[in-house]
Amino acid sequence: GAGVSQSPSNKVTEKGKDVELRCDPISGHTALYWYRQSLGQGLEFLIYFQGNSAPDKSGLPSDRFSAERTGGSVSTLTIQRTQQEDSAVYLCASSFGTGYEKLFFGSGTQLSVL
């Protein structure tokens, strides 16, 4: 595809369940970011992948959150034992990652934890 693809676009889950959110970046982009945005708020950095380097996980809010990026392409963000405060839009973005590059964003996954 031409852009960053995220799935699902909406996810409703019950408190305590695990969820997986998927991001398919633009082909050839080495950098991949996950951000979280609560209603009416800014973007909260979660995790950053750059090529084969170890990811920067400094933004993950708790050990219930994890992410992986397989083969330098598709990324999955997993939230275990979801809580109501995890409800937010989860945004993925990618770039060529060589510096001075703009990010291309997906449309996000709206996660609602009941």
Binding site: V4, A31, Y33, Y35, Q37, L39, Q41, G42, L43, F45, Y48, Q50, D56, V89, L91, A93, G97, G99, Y100, E101, K102, L103, F104, F105, G106, S107, G108
Partner: protein, 111 residues
């Protein structure tokens, strides 16, 4: 904490007027970017200014950067109702290219 902070949080103007939004940041940067967001979903890149640049133009957009004050401004001239959106600045950190975003300015352009 946020690297970039936008000001004001909200701005309401009439169509045809100019809109100015400001961004302040804390640490040395490689570049600063401005993004626009409609309807709370994906962001769209507007303009990038490098740390050695002071001003940049793109259509009706003008961005300035003052590294001594660690601040940037985004000016939208001759605003249109379609410019209604949230605007975010994003900064990297000199030691790496990780981008962090501010809380944004909600711009409303009234017809």
């Amino acid at each position: 904490s946020q690297q970039g902070e936008e000001d004001p949080q909200a701005l309401s103007i009439q169509e045809g007027e100019n809109a100015t939004m400001n961004c302040s940041y804390k640490t040395s940067i490689n570049n600063l970017q401005w993004y626009r967001q409609n309807s709370g979903r994906g962001l769209v890149h507007l303009i990038l200014i490098r740390s050695n640049e002071r001003e940049k133009h793109s259509g009706r957009l003008r961005v300035t950067l003052d590294t001594s004050k660690k601040s940037s401004s985004l000016l939208i001239t001759a605003s249109r109702a379609a410019d209604t959106a949230s605007y975010f600045c994003a900064t990297d950190e000199r030691s790496n290219y990780k981008l962090t975003f501010g809380k944004g300015t909600l711009l409303t352009v009234n017809p």
